[in-house]
Symmetry: C2
Subunit: 295 residues, 2 copies
């Protein structure tokens, strides 16, 4: 199957599955539920759940096993977006071309919708654990543990990003922010798929390397797009990082240097998957997709 078609199929699968977790009943908190649904179904790329499923599918076919974790990660991702957009943090009015949660509803609702989505992720995990057979519990508990640790890192990364906004920071801090704010969750996704598929230590290490490399590539590409992307396609202004004197991979290596770094790291990510042949075709192409995306 063509990569783009496969990507679309994954997105469809995830959107259909997420529908099952939406709360449609008439209850006193129905507006809160609507606001959680608003962000969850706002049309994200579903990169994180796709990483879980696609990694799992290198080794196994019954993707049902990893679906609850794919749902949980998308809830966590959306919790972080809602809270990052709040007036007290980034104060953003638009996301995916729509008003942010607090603009569409109000600030109190957005705070609680974020809280609700983070907590719902753990509800999904707890319900899955309760229904898990004894022989699979050890792996799933490891996944739960990695989830909570990765979210902890994500929150720390977001905090530092916020604290240093508009200030000059060292390269060391820049890498620390990215490693935690976006890297930890991408790494978690690949590891979740791998652990649920019961891979051995060598495979887990290779896949973790792949995840860390695409996480870094994702960030470098973000910085390049912020410098020279198409404002209309991106849906946000270009060139702001320079104005704010933000420390980015572009300010660090120059535009050309950043592009070379992106190419190099993408090549390395793909190489980590060499041993899996055609089974890893989608993940290899996903690395190229991250490298070449225009939004």
């Amino acid at each position: 199957m063509e990569f783009k078609e496969q990507l679309k199929q994954y997105q469809l699968l995830i959107n259909n599955e997420l529908e099952k977790y939406l709360r449609k009943q008439d209850c006193p908190e129905k507006v809160l539920n609507k606001s959680m649904e608003y962000s969850l179904m706002a049309g994200g790329k579903r990169l994180r759940p796709i990483l879980i499923i696609a990694t799992y599918e290198i080794f196994k076919n019954d993707k049902k096993q990893c679906m609850p974790y794919a749902m949980a990660i998308e809830m966590i991702h959306n919790f972080s977006l809602i809270h990052d957009d709040l007036p007290g943090i980034d104060n953003d009015d638009f996301r995916h071309g729509k008003p942010t949660n607090h603009k569409q509803f109000n600030e109190a609702t957005a705070i609680l919708a974020g809280d609700g989505l983070l907590n719902q992720a753990y509800m999904v995990i707890s319900k899955d654990l309760i229904n898990t057979k004894a022989q699979d519990l050890k792996d799933k508990l490891k996944v739960f543990d990695e989830f909570s640790s990765a979210v902890d890192r994500m929150i720390a990364g977001e905090y530092i990003d916020t604290e240093y906004e508009g200030k000059q920071i060292t390269n060391e801090y820049l890498e620390y922010i990215h490693k935690n704010k976006t890297g930890a969750l991408l790494r978690l996704c690949v590891r979740t798929g791998a652990i649920l598929a019961k891979v051995n230590e060598t495979d887990l290490e290779k896949l973790t390397n792949y995840a860390e490399k695409i996480g870094l590539a994702f960030q470098i590409k973000d910085d390049i797009l912020s410098e020279e992307g198409n404002e209309e396609i991106l849906g946000k202004p270009v060139g702001n990082d320079k104005k704010l004197e933000k420390c980015t991979y572009v300010s660090k290596y120059g535009l050309q240097g950043a592009k070379e770094k992106l190419d190099e790291i993408t090549k390395e990510a793909v190489e980590e998957l060499e041993g899996y042949g055609d089974k890893a075709k989608f993940l290899k192409e996903l690395a190229l997709y991250i490298q070449n995306r225009n939004k």
Copy 2:
């Protein structure tokens, strides 16, 4: 042992144990860690973790088993306080006689500190589950599941409370708010202690009844104190509910009626514990403490 002394001992035990979970290391997010510590150690009554431990101790002696869950519940309680106090929700400047988290730090830090504490609670649970022997896993997974569901209810209750602030609401909604916003977590505490102590269904039901009754008593007493408490002891203004025409147990039953309701429900709570004799002495006195507190 005298009730007051036992209460103090429990509080000391909990504070000492919480110290172990504080992050003191020098790291880029150290101010975030400080703000989590600030709220967690701000001097709450520790009612929720005490409920877990005291319920467990009716049946068993090795309270070590329930300590991680006692820690997790206090983290969750403090997460909810930090977010409730935010400018976007209740906009409170003081709690426990100290500046609220966003006043002491800033709004972004307070949002992320709340997120961090909610997530840390699940980190504590995941670490405990990983180290749990197979024969105890079923009970602990049930506890994890009840945790995530109770937090879900707490967030829903907070949402409705926020949505209806300053508006007239029905008795039905008033009860729904209390049942979810404060009741669900108190109920969770007692059930957690009971489930970890491996009680039978009859005991679990009795203890759940006790929990629901003290939850209701707690709320009625809150409403009475808001009407006729001592402002200095309470640390907040008295009589505001009346001014705001808030629907409370006092506005519903009158001051005398609310007091009678409080006495009646406290008596019923104590009766639920009759069968446990002296072992439940502390929990019985805790119900009287809730009834007679002046702050």
